[in-house]
């Protein structure tokens, strides 16, 4: 059978002009798409053949400048890298093209990324060190040391993860996955002297890594496989290792698992909430605890189930623990 070389696709295209429009609207275009085309080709065709007023950002055309990031059916993509046929495989032949963040649209697919750059600047995204201004040799970094960055330096600041993060959507103080990845990238750099300062920045309540909801949207959204959630986990680890973890609900929530596993193997759910919240804070959970208890959802301490071979678990916790709180 001959390979299908073209497909008919219906595009719903987000349109908005901050200066003239009260509300956004969508234009619909039905186009025949060939297998080699990417989303940027479609935007160009619409602009050149149908409506010259369409606005979008484009530059390098090979996935390195990060400027053309937009969303197709809610999936953040680089317009210059995403093949239409791949998107059709996922979503079918009706595709909705929108800016990364509709509420930040200035004109059509162009958004105001000020919040992104503010967060980026917040984590001191540069190497901070005393340098010899007249070096006689190159300042070499060994391959093993370069590996410590875990490819966080591949980030192209496209904003795909930032504008896919649900925690950031709700809490605008949250620093967000892109800036966290940048914080890690410089904190992990052997040439840098400000790692501790950066860890303090991402350790703040409401702003820092503790408010991550663990949805993995950032890992999924990143077109360069930076895996921001992995860097967020690393920052958590570095905060504990540096001994700067504050004694608060978020840190106790993480540490509480180790206590519970040591005692029961399984998690003591009630005790985790009490330990995390403290004896007073836990009271606010009373209404839901009563509702759960009435429906047989609370295990009493004397009935707490335990893992078999618990002695193994206790031994492993003793021998494998690498940090203290």
């Amino acid at each position: 059978m001959d390979e299908i070389k073209s497909k008919q696709v219906t595009f719903k295209l987000f349109r908005f002009n901050q200066e003239t429009d009260y509300l956004p609207y969508y234009n619909t275009y039905v186009l025949d798409i060939t297998h080699e085309e990417v989303i940027l080709d479609v935007l160009n065709r619409i602009k050149w053949d149908h409506d010259g007023s369409l606005s979008y950002r484009r530059s390098c055309r090979h996935g390195i400048c990060g400027i053309c990031s937009i969303k197709v059916n809610g999936k953040a993509i680089l317009a210059c890298k995403s093949r239409l046929f791949d998107l059709i495989d996922i979503f079918g032949t009706e595709l909705t093209i929108e800016p990364l963040s509709t509420k930040r649209a200035i004109k059509d697919l162009i958004i105001d990324k000020e919040d992104f750059w503010d967060k980026h600047a917040q984590v001191k995204p540069f190497i901070d060190t005393e340098i010899d201004e007249h070096p006689s040799l190159e300042n070499l970094v060994k391959p093993d040391d370069a590996d410590k960055l875990l490819e966080a330096d591949y980030c192209i600041q496209c904003g795909a993860c930032h504008y896919s993060c649900p925690a950031l959507e709700i809490n605008d103080r949250f620093i967000g996955p892109a800036a966290f990845a940048a914080a890690f990238r410089f904190a992990a750099d052997v040439r840098d002297d400000s790692a501790l300062e950066r860890l303090h920045i991402v350790n703040e309540e409401a702003e820092g890594v503790w408010d991550c909801v663990k949805c993995m949207e950032c890992a999924e959204a990143c077109p360069k496989d930076v895996d921001p959630i992995q860097k967020i986990t690393k920052l958590h680890n570095m905060i504990f290792q540096a001994g700067i973890a504050k004694n608060n609900i978020a840190t106790r929530h993480a540490v509480g698992f180790a206590h519970s596993i040591e005692k029961h193997g399984l998690l003591d759910e009630g005790e985790l909430v009490r330990y995390s919240e403290g004896n007073i804070g836990v009271m606010k959970h009373l209404p839901e605890a009563i509702a759960m208890w009435k429906n047989g959802k609370i295990v009493m301490p004397w009935n707490m189930p335990k893992s078999k071979n618990l002695d193994e678990v206790k031994k492993l916790i003793k021998s494998s623990s690498t940090v203290k709180f």
């Binding site: 996922i90 979503f91 309540e205 949805c215 890992a219 680890n237 180790a258 399984l266 494998s320 709180f325």
Partner: protein, 292 residues
């Protein structure tokens, strides 16, 4: 069909705050002739928080859990998305990094265990779909759920990151997942489409970031309600705890009353297979299951 056998990693929730999940899982397995051997030795997976504190400890404990499935020579099935993620992530990291595997095995050797990497890890949802088969399932349905509009709620940790889930789970696309929709259809129900079905419920930030968590729960419930759902179904007990128990805080956070019965995935299958409400533990729900 050859009898399907799995090692069941229940996780903590199914033995504590969602006893109905374990009950309904066992009931459905019996109806389908699937043998589940409980891994009573297994510990908590750390629920994606222990690794923030101590990554090595998290790896060792999760590897130990998998060791017990390997001893049985069986695939491990999970019934909690977060157990699935943590276990599959541990397996993936150890299977692709010999040095890390050796380091973890050095610890496990102290208790006479060795992680080999011989057992697969998959969520019960995908075991039903891929191993048992939806056609076989629909043949067993004797109480089709045709009168219900059912909203699937996938739960993040079964579908993201796809790089991992492609290996261990169904390999569906996280931006347009279909497994739970297909299961609803196989049970005779009407699947409801809504934006929040593959989004986060907020569970993991509930203690430290209660407002964020409550808004996310509210978005999920309101999305399903606006799409005319009679009830929701989820493969994850953590999502279930959020959606079933926390509707008060969710309603307050989004300024709108949102309340909808939420069933665990095996409870839905059990209803379609003719299990009684008591067999499925439906009396344990905080938001009353008022339609059976």
């Amino acid at each position: 069909m050859e009898k399907l056998r799995y090692a069941l990693y229940t996780g903590c929730t199914a033995r504590e705050s969602t006893p109905e999940l374990l009950k309904s899982t066992l009931a459905v397995a019996e109806k389908l002739g699937i043998e589940l051997i409980l891994l009573d030795e297994a510990t908590c997976c750390g629920a994606s928080h222990l690794q923030d504190y101590d990554d090595m400890l998290s790896l060792v404990l999760n590897a130990r859990n998998i060791c017990y499935a390997e001893k049985l020579g069986l695939t491990m099935v999970t019934i909690c998305n977060t157990c699935q993620l943590n276990t599959a992530m541990t397996k993936h990291r150890l299977d692709t990094n010999p040095a890390l595997k050796a380091k973890v095995n050095e610890k496990l050797a102290e208790v006479g265990l060795e992680y080999k990497g011989t057992s697969e890890v998959t969520h019960f949802l995908y075991a039903i779909i891929q191993d048992y088969g939806l056609d076989n399932l629909s043949q067993k349905v004797n109480v089709p759920l045709s009168q219900f509009n059912i909203a699937p709620f996938y739960g993040c940790h079964n579908i993201r990151p796809s790089e991992l889930q492609n290996i261990s789970n169904g390999g569906e696309n996280p931006y347009n997942p279909t497994s739970l929709d297909d299961l609803i259809i196989a049970c005779g129900g009407n699947n409801v489409d809504y934006d929040a079905k593959n989004k986060c419920c907020g569970f993991h930030a509930e203690l430290q970031s209660p407002h964020t968590a409550a808004v996310l729960t509210g978005n999920a419930l309101s999305g399903a309600i606006d799409a005319n759902a009679d009830w929701m179904v989820t493969p994850c007990p953590l999502c279930h705890l959020k959606l079933d128990v926390q509707h008060h805080s969710a309603s307050k956070a989004i300024g709108r009353e949102v309340k909808l019965p939420v069933l665990h995935m095996p409870q839905m299958v059990g209803l379609a297979l003719g299990c009684t409400p008591a067999e499925l533990g439906l009396q344990h729900h905080v938001t009353r299951v008022n339609f059976v």
